[in-house]
Amino acid sequence: MADRRTFLGAVSGVATTLLLAAAADAQTPPASPAASSPPAAGSAKPPSAAALAAAAAMRRFDPALSDAEVETIARGIDDNAVGAVLNPHRGRGLRNGDEPVTRFAVAVPR
């Protein structure tokens, strides 16, 4: 999966991980959770109930979303669980005091 994602990083033009979760799932069991784009419907594993609920909530924006589309979005949300890779409890070394690269600052008057 890491190799797959490297490939994606090279090809996507922008979002790197936004692509191909379904294809990646089909080819290689993910070593880490995939990122965001909606995989094709018909993947073997059903989406989680939480993802289905979040996906169904998108009908408030597009009431015409079909059940299949909601399921596709839900699979994308599941595959987008990159927090497992990024968060501090999975051995990636983030500690309480580690600050984000973007910080709020108050300008000092000249």
């Binding site: 490939f7 922008v14 936004l18 692509l19 909606p38 924006f61 009431p63 589309e69 990024l86």
Partner: protein
Amino acid sequence: MNADDLAFADVVELQRLLGAKHVSSLELTNLYLDRLERYGPVYNGVVTILPERARREARRADRERARGIVRGPLHGIPYGVKDLLATPDAPTTWGAQPYRRQRFDFDATAVRKLTDAGAVLLAKLAMVELAGGFGYDEADASFTGPGRTPWNPQYWSGGSSSGSGIAVAAGLVGFAIGSETSGSILFPSTACGITGLRPTYGRVSRHGAMALCWSLDKLGPLARSARDTHLILAALAGSDPHDPTAVDAPLSVPRRKLRVAVLRHATKGAMPEVAANFRATLRALGELCDLAGEVALPKGPWEELVGTIVNAEGAAAFRDLIESGRSRELRNAQDKLGGYVAYATPAVDYIDAQRQRTKLNAALAAAMEGYDAVVSPTLDTVTFPIGVPFDKAYPKYGSSPSLISPGNAAGLPALALPNGFGPHGLPTSFALLGSAWSEAALATLGARYQRATDFHRKRPPLRTAAASASATIPSSTPPTRSVT
């Protein structure tokens, strides 16, 4: 010099010809306008041609030159911009159906700076819808149709600065401006066999440019030579009260031989042709710089952090579109639903991505310590066939470490240069990833490489619309002409 030679000359050569009065800016402009009309639709490279503005600016440049006023090396040079830069002359479509009638009443700062430098705006160029922010998986992701590389129109031009790559490669403009969030200058430069420079984050103002991801978006030049990229960047660079991230920083070259490292395992997952071309590149670079040692890419969730940041910031940037339900109007199937997936990104994931970014950027800086640049193939493969999902195109390749996500996460500059050809007559390239603010050094080394090689002077075998019709290559939406 015949018309083709003129169309494919680089900016430096065009400026020499203008200065020697071998050609006027208006003649050059008319030549490119004709080529944009003739070839733009074949390769799906153009959204809007701006003949009135272009001729007005060209006449002004010629008048000034006649009075002895030459604003700089871009004076009178015609160019195009990716259609995410605002201009008042035409719609600014962001490559996406929901924005096809969107208009702004001002020039983006990048366009204004090029106008001030005497350059001539010819056209708004095609792009992947929303610069790819919703996760497209095929070349079809633009309302103008799939961008086709002039080297082989059955293959993708790369994205998201598709039209910028096409127009430079096919000699439809003197140079072009594109944008990169994570790969959108480097990929089309590779696919179209041209030279592309992704500047340091903050080098170029993004005021008037479509925002996809505030902490990653950059604007930069796509051109026919490395020396051109330096000249264009010099005109674009600098602070802007409308973009607080844009700063003034020197464009200087060290007075010593540049020290360059090779990315470790750079070709382990590359096509054989990409690997062979890269080996030849290293032999050439060995004569031009101090090619010393290897650098290993620091391990980390580079792709995840960039993907998470693009998801969260992109969903915010296009919140109106997502919440309106109109993302269904986008062209690519993934894009129609990808916004909803991005919208569901947890805030804590976004913050953790920005926290990981602090740590990984420091690790990358430490790995590059003592080097001016790291070199690797830009991509493991040649560009993809149109009509095939990206991940299905070359499943055997793609496992080499990539500098695209790390370089973008760290806001570092990179220069992609053509270095040969692979299967199907398609170009390959290598990239130099530099330390922050080192664009001039990268361009100088690139120019030395291009003096020793001729890949950047190769011309694709262009087709006309009639030829492409007989070859059953459909062109999608013809470019419109501005009426103002």
